[in-house]
Symmetry: C2
Subunit: 335 residues, 2 copies
């Protein structure tokens, strides 16, 4: 069988079309023949279905500039898992932008009209722009060529945690605000702060105190400005981003608490009835500026941890100091 590399396409004839496209979903039909992407041709070489391309065997072809080892690792892994898939080139698939492979549901192929995953490939040492995530599966190829799949999804956050709290007074002490005589609702129903001891005093974090002060539920000497100023002293710009995300979460009926023990900004409770009867927190939230670039290793760490504690990792991407927030959930996927 004669196959030739022309630019970024491997041309093959009618016989190849029958063997590789019609029965196994390789390539793109063109005038009755097929075109193969180099990564597809490399896989056929690897399997021994074809012997050479322009005189190159598998070893020669993989070592050439025509095919990326990283793309090949993912292509092979998905084929090994029983999927048919097509390189996301213009004209080869609908909506090619933002993906490297379009993967069909098991048992389906390019001749069906269904897509299981839109896969984007990155190497462990590349970075991923935060706002590019959502609506695709990241296939991260690590230094040992193993593939980790991370499903990324835009989502909204919502809940029913919206207990009303009578206003109270607080005192700014270092990096916290203490309410010496708060209404019981503050902690017990609405789950703000922590009890200092048994006498009812509640200590609030700076972000909780800034929110409550801005909402008119707390008075502090110097007002909300004094709390926000203290927050910026100890956290810089990050404080404003965290406050914006905290405010958005509370506005959505979700109660955020510190995510420190999980290395995150917040863990969240969607349906708080009382502090005594909290239930499981559903999300871990990390606050990031929208122009953040993820190191895949950091993503893997966050997502693995969240999975281990039965929570979903959500990145809150803030623009313009928090005026706009986009929520991107990332979860491990085993295709």
């Amino acid at each position: 069988m004669e196959l030739t590399l022309e630019g970024d396409v491997v041309r093959a004839g009618y016989e190849a079309r029958e063997r590789f496209y019609d029965s196994r979903g390789y390539g793109k039909v063109r005038n009755g023949d097929i075109d193969l992407a180099p990564v597809e041709a490399a896989h056929l070489l690897y399997r021994g279905d074809i012997e050479s391309i322009d005189g190159m065997d598998f070893r020669g072809f993989l070592g050439s500039a025509a095919v990326s080892e990283v793309d090949f690792a993912v292509y092979k892994d998905l084929r090994d898992r029983g999927f048919y898939l097509t390189p996301a080139r213009e004209g080869w698939v609908d909506d090619a932008a933002g993906a490297d492979f379009v993967v069909y549901p098991r048992g389906k192929g390019p001749w069906d009209n269904e897509v299981a995953y839109r896969v984007r490939i990155i190497g462990e040492r590349d970075t991923a722009v935060a706002t590019d995530l959502g609506g695709c599966v990241l296939a991260v190829v690590d230094e040992e060529s193993e593939v980790t799949y991370l499903d990324t999804d835009r989502r909204e956050v919502s809940g029913t945690s919206d207990a009303a709290v009578p206003a109270t007074a607080g005192e700014l002490l270092g990096e916290r605000v203490v309410c010496w005589e708060p209404p019981a609702e503050l902690y017990e129903q609405a789950f703000y702060g922590q009890q200092l001891g048994d006498d009812g005093a509640v200590q609030l974090s700076l972000v909780e105190a800034a929110y409550l002060t801005q909402e008119g539920m707390l008075t502090v000497e110097g007002g909300a400005d004094a709390v926000v100023e203290r927050g910026r002293e100890v956290e810089g710009d990050r404080f404003d981003r965290r406050l914006a995300v905290y405010t958005a979460l509370r506005a959505s009926g979700v109660a955020p608490k510190t995510g420190f023990k999980f290395g995150a900004d917040f863990r969240t409770y969607a349906d708080v009835e009382s502090a005594e009867n909290l239930g499981h927190s559903e999300l871990l939230v990390r606050v990031l500026p929208a122009d953040h670039r993820f190191e895949p290793r950091d993503l893997a760490l966050d997502v693995r941890l969240a999975h281990g504690v039965r929570k979903t990792m959500v990145f809150a991407l803030t623009t313009d100091g928090g005026d706009e927030i986009e929520w991107v959930a990332v979860e491990r996927l085993t295709p």
Copy 2:
């Protein structure tokens, strides 16, 4: 009972000594009376054991400059857990340096000669110098004033993974090296690399390949220099640090593999018999320059993840490009 604040000490008389030191381990005896550290005096105020110091009640004293809210949070937490403890001041305890509190075993006190933990306190927003860790318990106070304890320990790494491997040849392809016809021992006994498919070819990571080339077990065009150069191209200085740690681990009889899925540099196997029969990997290793400053949140993330997958988090601190390596294990502790 009359108590007065003098500088950083609260002076109290013989009666206080009987009530607070002799029976409950507060303070330091001085000429038959006792001195209390402000954090101890704050705790006595909080409990209602004393009413005021220089006219200040608990609220006034905690709000004064005399006592840190962070220190108080840890002191109270340890007392709540049933421990007696002493502020680590010169002259108050042996070997005060590097600790904030010396905590006695449950049921013991300052009059015994035993120490359970040497505790160092940091706030969530402080940083911890990597080389200061080891031999102490970090008590991290998060923004909600909850305390997380991290036990830090200098340690050595050792194992019995030392299978011999006949030399072979490899080809540098992008960010990996492929051995097309390796000896079976390479992967199967010594657990280097990953099998590319069923035909025996093994792909090595750059760090594995650099090590094997330097040890004379692998030949690559351009030698070890070519591999190291490629590593530096894609990872910068970090490649040299990782190679130094990889080399030290292998020299200690431990087989390192990528820790990518856990967000770490390596996971390690102390007793590899064969790739087929690996057992559980014991350590997660993160490689850092010795002058690294930890954000407590990053530490919490690493340690929590390691705990969840039943591994120990170890930081490999490298000096002078890897000539010296110190190993610090960090584990969660519930005192």
